[in-house]
């Protein structure tokens, strides 16, 4: 336990430059990969069990093997760096500190997929990371890792960085492709999937930054070696962006399978809840995954300790489980208002809905308005049932997963914290500001 393959060596001088990255063993995988056959690389990635780090956790090797290969049609690799999930900031960190690991991963992956042009689609707000990447790509061109005839292998690759406008929806792969083509970032209706009809109508693979950054290590050390890291089908390491009421917020690289309890309380990772408070709830994988109360996040419903892995976190389905998602680990202490927090999340989804399909367009706004009634202190008990009904009518009825992302937090909050909603109903206007309410009544904060 505790191996790191992505953000180790960050303390070394100049790992964000080409020479610094080479000094820690960078760009060796390219030389090895270019001597391999593309199919062999795909096979290695399949063997490694590497799963998509963007949130869905789909096996990356499988995704690569789905790409259609009609003759005479170009193929594209697109790196999804539009990290916008509230609570997730791992890709930004990785690109900022070690841009070359992504570039190296992209060169190998493009070679494996037979793509001669690849794109990094980066979120508009991260302008400074855009400049870092531009600089790193120029360095790679100058060193002959990009451009025509890379390292004398006869393989050509051009890598471009494209800056998005800062829309959450452009992190959805087909929305991203539309945006990259210069259109409105509206997700497409699937099928056809991007592996068949993607960017400019050509077969395309869209992968997360972290997924691609794992590829050089797999090529260097073989897929079997990678599969030994982690636990079960959750192989490898995962970057976790820990935030919220913890002593040490930040990006941590964990080996999948670390117990959640250890992750929150050990000094190696989050370092416990700040100010000596108690843990109340955790959103384990970015704002869109279901929130879990203390008893369910530390132990599964069966009483087993919960681990930081795809399987263990989703144990029990949505009734008693959640998802690893993109690794945005938001910890809330006992003072947090779940209702206020949920309102904030829902406000985000309302703002970011693209407006294409009706359940999401109308439903997210409606949920936000109903939740705001709770905050303002004039909600009724029937509003809790109304919220439940709205989320049920959005979930699974939309074009892209944004509808689900908006519905799941609402469902989970009501499922696990219904009493808190009822408290808001009963207390009415008193709940406008909780702390204010406690102060007025000379009560101890519970």
């Amino acid at each position: 336990m505790g191996r790191q393959i992505l953000i180790n060596d960050l303390d070394k001088e100049g790992v964000n430059t080409l020479s610094g990255y080479k000094a820690i063993g960078g760009y060796t995988a390219i030389e090895k990969a270019l001597k391999m056959k593309p199919e062999e690389i795909v096979e290695e990635v399949k063997k490694s069990g590497l799963r998509g780090r963007g949130g869905a956790g789909f096996p990356a090797g499988m995704k690569w093997s789905f790409i259609a290969k009609p003759p005479g049609v170009p193929r594209y690799l697109v790196c999804n760096a539009d990290e916008s999930e509230p609570g997730t900031f791992k890709d930004r960190f990785l690109m900022e500190k070690k841009p070359h690991i992504l570039i190296e991963g992209m060169i190998i992956s493009s070679f494996a997929l037979g793509a001669n042009t690849s794109y990094i689609y980066i979120r508009g707000e991260m302008m400074y990371v855009f400049h870092i990447l531009e600089k790193a790509i120029q360095e790679a061109y100058d060193a002959g890792y990009l451009g025509k005839n890379i390292l004398g292998s006869g393989y050509d690759l051009d890598l471009h960085v494209h800056c998005g406008g800062g829309a959450y929806i452009c992190g959805e792969e087909t929305g991203l492709i539309e945006s990259l083509e210069g259109k409105r970032g509206n997700p497409r209706i699937k099928p056809p999937f991007p592996a068949v009809v993607g960017l400019y109508g050509c077969p395309t693979v869209v992968n997360n930054v972290e997924t691609l950054a794992n590829v050089p290590w797999i090529v260097n050390n073989s897929g079997d070696e990678y599969a030994k890291i982690g636990i079960g089908k959750s192989t490898g390491t995962k970057l976790i962006s820990a935030s919220g009421h913890i002593n040490k917020p930040g990006v941590y690289e964990i080996e999948l399978g670390v117990p959640v309890e250890e992750f929150i309380f050990s000094d190696k990772y989050c370092g416990g809840i700040r100010n000596g408070k108690k843990l109340k709830a955790v959103v384990a994988g970015g704002s869109s995954v279901p929130i879990l109360p203390t008893e369910l996040i530390l132990k599964t419903a069966k009483g087993e300790p919960r681990l930081m892995s795809y399987e263990s976190l989703s144990d029990g389905g949505f009734q008693t489980g959640t998802m690893l998602g993109s690794g945005g680990f938001i910890v809330m202490d006992e003072d947090t208002s779940i209702v206020k927090n949920l309102w904030n999340f829902t406000r985000f989804y309302h703002h970011e809905s693209c407006g294409q399909c009706s359940p999401c367009r109308e439903g997210t706004g409606w949920m936000e308005k109903v939740l705001h009634k709770f905050i303002e202190g004039h909600a009724q008990t029937k509003d809790i049932d109304l919220l439940w009904d709205i989320q049920r009518k959005i979930e699974g009825k939309t074009i892209c997963p944004l509808g689900e992302a908006a519905a799941w937090p609402v469902a989970a909050a009501i499922r696990h914290f219904r009493s808190e909603f009822e408290e808001y109903v009963h207390q009415g206007k008193n709940m406008i500001d909780v702390k204010h309410y406690y102060r007025l009544n000379n009560l101890q904060e519970a």
Binding site: H350, Q356, S358, R361
Partner: protein, 339 residues
């Protein structure tokens, strides 16, 4: 060929047919409603989610059900597919939910809306919706913008079906309107006060399922159920020239394309036919139009019994008079008082 079973009724359809079109081939009440799909517009559909169906069996080869409801207008059939539409309580509920969402911010200004009586959202709400809304907040409003002298845009009524965008893309020489903004403030608009005036752009009025795009030359002239549809044609070098004239008394109040029973136009017509030829003398009358779908217009029975006889004699007399260069269309079916 693929064999597909929808609500227990089987049909063989060519490969690549969508579930919705297969259901339309079977016909009857198993046809899912469609607010954004338009068979004559490429890439339309998938947005409104009213046509969601449950796929209980994916295909004969892979009998697993699909995990989520699928939009029947975009999902193509597979051999051996089993689809549940009105037989699935889950789908009926989901559809009621979608109708509620569509009506959530709709102003429900039917009493002053020109589309009332031939509005698809009215029909949808009547057939699949609930009696009452649970929405208690202020409804969304948009500022009115002027998009030209022929078409009136009333964005507050829009359900963002994207049909008018596809009309401009596929029929007009250039598109100068589109969807601006996102989420629930997304709106159809022209970019910086542009004018929608390209030829064929009038078809946007016909494809609009609600009263968001209406004919300015017909605005507030009459309720549609007081007008009588008559099929007519003329020789036109830009379009097929086959239209439907809507009479009130002797006057042609508006000209539209002919629509089939799913409310889709049979042939596109040009702006000149639609807006500039509003005299009976411009047209060769074919006879009373038949309206397939149940509608408040056909409820007037303008094409049966005495009314039909009146109409026939009217048209005969009218055409005779046309030859003699006289216009008179006083008595008969054209006059609402005679029905």
């Amino acid at each position: 060929m693929a064999k597909v079973t929808i609500d227990g009724k089987s049909i063989e359809v060519p490969d690549g047919t969508t579930i919705l079109n297969a259901a339309r081939m079977i016909g009857g009440d198993i046809v899912p409603p469609a607010m954004c799909y338009y068979s004559k517009l490429k890439t339309s559909g998938g947005y409104c989610r009213t046509c969601l169906v449950k796929v209980a069996q994916g295909s004969a080869k892979d009998p697993r059900p699909m995990p989520k409801p699928v939009p029947s207008c975009r999902q193509t059939v597979m051999d051996g597919m089993v689809v549940e539409n009105i037989t699935s309580p889950e789908i009926v509920e989901a559809r009621a939910g979608v109708v509620e969402f569509l009506l959530l911010n709709h102003p429900l200004d039917c009493p002053i809306c020109d589309q009332a009586g031939e509005c698809h959202l009215q029909d949808l709400g009547y057939e699949h919706g609930k009696m009452k809304t649970r929405y208690e907040f202020k409804r969304r409003e948009f500022e009115k913008i002027d998009i030209g002298d022929k078409i009136k845009l009333h964005m507050t009524r829009c359900i963002l079906c994207y049909r008018c965008v596809k009309v401009a893309d596929q029929l007009c020489s250039c598109r100068n309107h589109g969807v601006m903004n996102r989420g629930d403030v997304a709106e159809i608009s022209t970019y910086i006060e542009n004018v929608v005036d390209k030829d064929m752009s009038g078809n946007m009025i016909d494809v609009c399922p609600v009263g968001a795009l209406t004919d300015k030359t017909f605005r507030f002239k009459s309720r549609v159920w007081f007008t009588k549809p008559v099929d007519a044609h003329r020789t036109c070098d830009k379009c097929c020239g086959k239209v439907r004239l809507w009479y009130k008394g002797e006057e042609v109040l508006r000209v539209t394309a002919r629509k089939d029973k799913y409310g889709e136009v049979e042939d596109w017509i040009c702006n000149s036919c639609r807006f500039d030829h509003k005299k009976t003398s411009d047209w060769v009358i074919e006879g009373a139009s038949h309206i397939d779908h149940h509608s408040v217009i056909s409820a007037n029975h303008y094409e049966t019994g005495k009314a039909l006889e009146n109409l026939k004699s009217d048209i005969e007399r009218h055409q005779k008079q046309l030859k003699e260069n006289k216009f008179a269309l006083g008595q008969g079916a054209m006059n609402p008082n005679n029905v």
